[in-house]
């Protein structure tokens, strides 16, 4: 199935939890925040939240910044 992951098409073998997706991507869940279809998913609910076909998933983390970034986090 296909989802949108950080603005790009991404193929997954089937519906899976956010916890599993992070594991597949080798991302430490403690360092990121995840949004599914524009709703923030609490860390405690990663295991039970299933990603459905066509879902828009955003995985974000903290990066260095002061107030001088001109690039939007939501590149359209």
């Amino acid at each position: 199935m296909r989802i949108q992951l950080n603005g790009e098409p991404h193929d997954l073998p089937g519906p899976m939890s956010i916890a599993l997706l992070l594991e597949r991507l080798a991302i430490d869940p403690r360092t990121v925040a995840v949004e599914c279809d524009r709703v923030v998913v609490k860390r405690a609910r990663y295991a039970e939240t299933l990603i459905q076909p066509g879902a828009e998933v955003e995985i974000v983390a903290f990066v260095g910044g002061g107030g001088n970034d001109t690039i939007s986090p939501w590149i359209r």
């Binding site: 524009r38 998913v41 983390a61 990066v63 260095g64 910044g65 002061g66």
Partner: protein
């Protein structure tokens, strides 16, 4: 120095610094140390899925001593800023946000209408909101009325290093504010930070002035001292400015006559 209190939290430094533009994480950490900062801002961005195993910025910030303030830098609408703030809360497990809604790419001036809207939304959701805005006393008052925990007027455009462009506005903002005033952006060198504090600002936030200096660690130390000096001078109460001299030595008992009389 007297502590800075924002919302329910105490900070033992009045210098807030950014985490961007450093040549390395190690250099950033050393600069934070030299600045003696108790609060740093971080941006929220999409994870680069192709750069696996990249080290996290957070590994270079001692969170036992430094409070993490997520920002919404780069957001151009109230919606995007609110969305970013919510993600920042989840990533950092803190409900504080340095709220930025940019209205113009070239000046990075805020869109104050959208900023006010986003402030209202986030305050309702329980966030401690610190909005970056212009040095406009009316906008600052409206943000405070909307529930902002502090106001963060710019001294000059972000990253410009121009220093405090409108000292009078800052004084007016400070006079009317019931929340802390943090001068955010525009500082170029130590004297700019000292001036902001002498005018009565409760704190100064900067990134480029330190990260972009030839020696960021040395500049961080200079900024620390400037902020402290400015704060002390403000608390000490400066003398009024006057057009003519006022002798500081006695004018009587001179061994020679004083100034000649002009005819």
């Amino acid at each position: 120095m007297d502590p800075l209190i924002i919302a329910d939290r105490r900070f033992d430094s009045r210098l807030v610094v950014g985490t961007g533009k450093y040549a390395s994480h190690a250099l950033m950490q050393a600069a934070h140390e030299a600045a003696g900062t108790a609060m740093v801002t971080v941006a929220v961005r999409r994870v680069d899925l192709k750069a696996r195993g990249a080290e996290s910025l957070l590994e270079w910030i001692d969170r036992t001593r430094i409070f993490l303030l997520p920002n919404t830098a780069g957001c151009y609408t109230a919606d995007d800023a609110v969305r970013t703030a919510r993600l920042g809360r989840e990533a950092g497990l803190s409900h504080w946000v340095k709220l930025e809604v940019i209205g113009d790419e070239r000046t990075l001036f805020p869109d104050n209408v959208a900023l006010l809207e986003a402030t209202r939304t986030l305050v309702k959701e329980g966030f401690v909101v610190l909005p970056y805005t212009n040095d406009d006393p009316v906008v600052c008052r409206k943000l405070e009325d909307a529930g902002a925990a502090a106001v963060m007027p710019a001294g000059a455009p972000i990253g410009s290093g121009l220093g405090i462009q409108n000292p009078n506005n800052l004084v007016i903002i400070k006079e009317q504010a019931r929340v802390p005033v943090i001068v955010d952006a525009g500082v170029g060198t130590a004297s700019d930070a000292a001036i902001a504090m002498e005018l009565g600002a409760d704190a100064v936030l900067m990134n480029t002035a330190i990260a972009g200096a030839a020696d960021p660690v040395l500049m961080a130390g200079a900024m620390r001292r400037a902020v402290e000096a400015g704060r002390m001078a403000f608390l000490a109460g400066r003398i009024p400015k006057r057009r003519y001299a006022a002798a500081s030595s006695p004018t009587t008992g001179l061994v020679t006559p004083g100034a000649p009389q002009r005819s």
